[in-house]
């Protein structure tokens, strides 16, 4: 029985497990038709990848911006982003776990990233990883990190 197209594509992408891959390999050794189908799939993949490999633009300036933003964050030059993040996290924690849990986590002097880590751990434990990820994305969305440093790289 010939493997389906999805199976051949997965085989081409090394996405089949050892057992299934072995079965497909044995079939390919005996079936010229499937061998040809696989050759076409590989050719298409290579053509698409060759096109995708063309550099769009140099990411070097982005690295400078990321470095600058990380340094600014560490030094507290975040333009209020840390405070905004803390506030958003607090709001989410209150929403899901109530004010007492929030007060327990929000100790005096706790840094925004510490609160993020603790909130994330709680969310993962009680809501599951996907929900925790969605909540975290909501908290981080639209925050402006060290804007001036970022602009300076342009």
């Amino acid at each position: 029985m010939h493997p389906k197209r999805a199976a051949l594509i997965a085989y081409c992408d090394a996405e089949t497990g050892a057992d299934r891959g072995g079965r497909i390999a044995r079939h390919l050794a005996e079936c010229q038709e499937c061998h040809e189908r696989l050759r076409r799939i590989r050719g298409e993949k290579e053509e698409l990848s060759a096109g995708a490999a063309a550099p769009v633009c140099d990411p070097a300036r982005d690295w400078d911006a990321v470095l600058a933003a990380m340094a600014a964050w560490r030094e507290g030059r975040d333009g209020g982003a840390a405070s905004e993040l803390t506030s958003r996290l607090q709001w989410q924690l209150e929403k899901y776990f109530g004010a007492p849990a929030t007060r327990m986590l929000r100790r005096p002097g706790v840094r925004a990233e510490e609160l993020l880590g603790e909130a994330n751990a709680m969310m993962e434990a009680f809501l599951g990883p996907q929900a925790a990820e969605a909540v975290r994305d909501d908290c981080l969305r639209g925050l402006v990190w060290a804007g001036p440093a970022r602009e300076a790289t342009r």
Binding site: K4, R5, A6, I9, A10, D13, E15, R40, I41, G43, E44, K45, E46, E47, L48, S49, A50, G51, A52, A54, P55, V56, C57, D58, P59, A60, R61, D62, W63, A65, V66, L67, A69, M70, A71, W73, R74, E75, E113, E114, L116, G117, N120, A121, R136, D137, L140, R141, G142, W145, R150
Partner: protein, 204 residues
């Protein structure tokens, strides 16, 4: 110490160890980020650029993804698949900006930015080079995104994570996309595809 990243980005790790008070963990995270940036930045930028149709948004998405990665790692979060994670953040950033209304479906316009590969020296032509209008093939946005992410060498599991799908669905979408491309190429070669034409040089 200078590190050459991906042949394109050169950064000085020494410059990242700002301040004698930087804890070793932070320096470790920044090295991890530098390494990841060297490996993944170009691909994320290409992907975000195609999705956003705007280079500045693509650069912003790339920076946002890496900065959020830094933040989450600094928060002690373990990220099992950093590459998939970064692509996902960049994608959501672009989609948020585009206000497409849906976080799972990109607009169709960006499909036109699928690069057209060079003519293959082995065969003398390229099936994709022959096509003017990839959107007319009838690929769904998800199929197109699967193809795009696959060309960036993401594993199926990573693609699934970026797009919020099951891993098995990725394989099915890729198979369906390949089928559509194959049919469209066949029709184009026969000149029978409405709205899908061969480039003049390919027709000759």
């Amino acid at each position: 110490m200078a590190i050459y990243l991906g042949g394109a980005v050169r950064c000085k790790i020494g410059a990242m160890d700002r301040g004698a008070g930087s804890p070793p963990l932070a320096a470790g995270i920044e090295r991890e980020i530098a390494d990841l940036f060297g490996k993944e930045a170009a691909g994320i930028l290409r992907y975000a650029g195609a999705l956003a149709e705007d280079p500045e948004t693509a650069h912003d998405a790339l920076q946002e993804a890496f900065f959020r990665f830094f933040l989450c790692r600094s928060a002690g979060q373990r990220i099992r698949s950093p590459r998939g994670w970064l692509f996902r953040v960049a994608r959501n950033y672009v989609l948020d900006l585009k206000r497409a209304g849906s976080r799972t479906d990109a607009g169709m316009d960006w499909l036109r930015h699928l690069p057209s590969p060079a003519i293959s020296p082995a065969t003398g032509d390229s099936i994709f080079d022959r096509l003017y209008g990839l959107p007319e093939i009838g690929l769904s946005p998800r199929e197109m995104e699967c193809i795009r992410l696959r060309t960036e060498d993401l594993r199926y599991e990573e693609i699934a994570r970026v797009l919020g799908l099951q891993t098995g669905t990725v394989g099915a979408l890729l198979a369906r996309a390949h089928g559509k491309i194959r049919k469209a190429v066949g029709r184009a070669r026969r000149g029978a595809q409405p709205g899908l034409r061969l480039r003049p040089e390919a027709r000759e």
